[in-house]
Symmetry: C2
Subunit: 228 residues, 2 copies
DNA sequence: TTAAAAACATGATAATTGTCAGTTATTCCT
DNA sequence: AGGAATAACTGACAATTATCATGTTTTTAA
């Protein structure tokens, strides 16, 4: 028996929201898929006939801006659902989902989701709560993007990576992103990101071992992220 | 009999989602309030025990960034609900709502909303659809903020104002914002916004009569907003 | 209707960020 | 292991944007 129910359960924090039978039904319809680093799960503009549940690995959700640069809007990790928004509004995907490292995802068909949504008010409310929370986070990102300097945003990005993905046993950030990805999270040119990261290194705020990065002075990073 | 039901109905596009009795119940609990230009409906961090439905006028939803500047995240007009997100997640408000011009709002208590949400799956799904749409828009704003120049964003802002609030009988934008508000929508310094708006005027892209602004060359504005 | 306040405007300058061009380091592949 | 491809880095410079200072116009309110 698969573990796909766990995604749904964890995601919506709603053991009680789905009945056993519903869970079983959703679980029965799932199909599992391996996605290699760099591969696309779905692309912007694609019609989704289901939701992808992240079982392992990390996906970046990004959008191509008219000037040809990718903006990473979100990083999705174990337990997250990809494409839920588009399935709910019955629109094409507004973001693409690309694997940052090797992933395992399972697919839950559109109808299974919609049935539960329409027939189980508790489930619908839980999904609603979850999306409302995403919306709040998006609002926060808007404020950060428009009111903070690149340096502040990069400091925040490292803090975010530590808080959301943790460290490995050697104290390095568990999620390793390329400089280009960091630049795309933060909304700046790759060279600018590289320069600022180098500065952080020189100032002893972070350590780097190859591509691995470790936060060395969390307080100083916090200060940069907040004040100017 | 008030018109508050109309807000709910329009907002959620769900005549069928609420039964007559539910509508009546919601409508009975409402209280109407006049809000003068510049007054605060609710502030960031405030606990909301209900949702405000905009019956007339426009409200700006903004968030104070650590550097002391306001970022306007959204403009809400007739039919919009303010504070719904916070009520759903049972958190304090993450944005403040301030009247841009004189407004009329009605108040729907938290319990009335939550009851309908929990007991009427159709209603919950409609609200879900609506919030999912807001989330998509927020993602778009993130991309615009981080990938476009101030000039592009100001061009977009004027287009947005025309599309969402229309023109008055003389062809001027129906919603008049101060330069400072425009700067706060676009996430830039007031002086920068003023300069660019002056440029637009000189180039004949917009006309201005006092504070009133009219779009004179929509195509050119579109081009600026898209390309560079 | 006027004085005060707020909004608008412009110049000068500094700070931030982007772009282009090129070098070095790493990773990937067979 | 060795060469190609990709990523990381650096410098020089240009473009964008913020800040500060100051003057003008418009609104507001007594």
């Amino acid at each position: 028996m698969g573990r796909c129910e766990n995604c749904i359960i964890r995601q919506f924090n709603s053991l009680r929201a789905m009945s056993k039978e519903e869970l079983k039904r959703v679980s029965d319809t799932k199909t599992t898929k391996l996605v290699k680093k760099g591969e696309t799960i779905f692309g912007e503009g694609e019609k989704l006939n289901g939701v992808y549940c992240v079982r392992d690995g990390v996906s970046k959700l990004s959008k191509l801006s008219p000037n040809g640069k990718d903006q990473i809007v979100k990083l999705a990790t174990k337990g997250a659902l990809l494409g839920q928004r588009s399935v709910i509004t019955e629109e094409v995907a507004n973001l693409s989902a690309i694997a940052v490292n090797d992933m395992q995802v399972c697919f839950v068909p559109r109808d299974a989701i919609m049935d539960s949504l329409n027939n189980n008010p508790n489930f619908a409310v839980e999904v609603l709560r979850h999306i409302a929370h995403d919306l709040k986070e998006a609002d926060d990102v808007i404020v950060n993007m428009s009111q903070k300097t690149v340096k502040q945003r990069i400091a925040e990005a490292f803090i975010y990576l530590e808080e959301n993905f943790g460290n490995d046993r050697n104290g390095y950030l568990a999620l390793t992103l390329s400089r280009e990805d960091i630049a795309n999270v933060v909304g700046t040119a790759t060279e600018s990101a590289i320069r600022i990261i180098s500065d952080f290194k020189k100032l002893g705020l972070i350590k780097a071992y190859g591509k691995k990065v470790a936060i060395a002075d969390r307080k100083a990073l916090d200060d940069i992220a907040k004040g100017s």
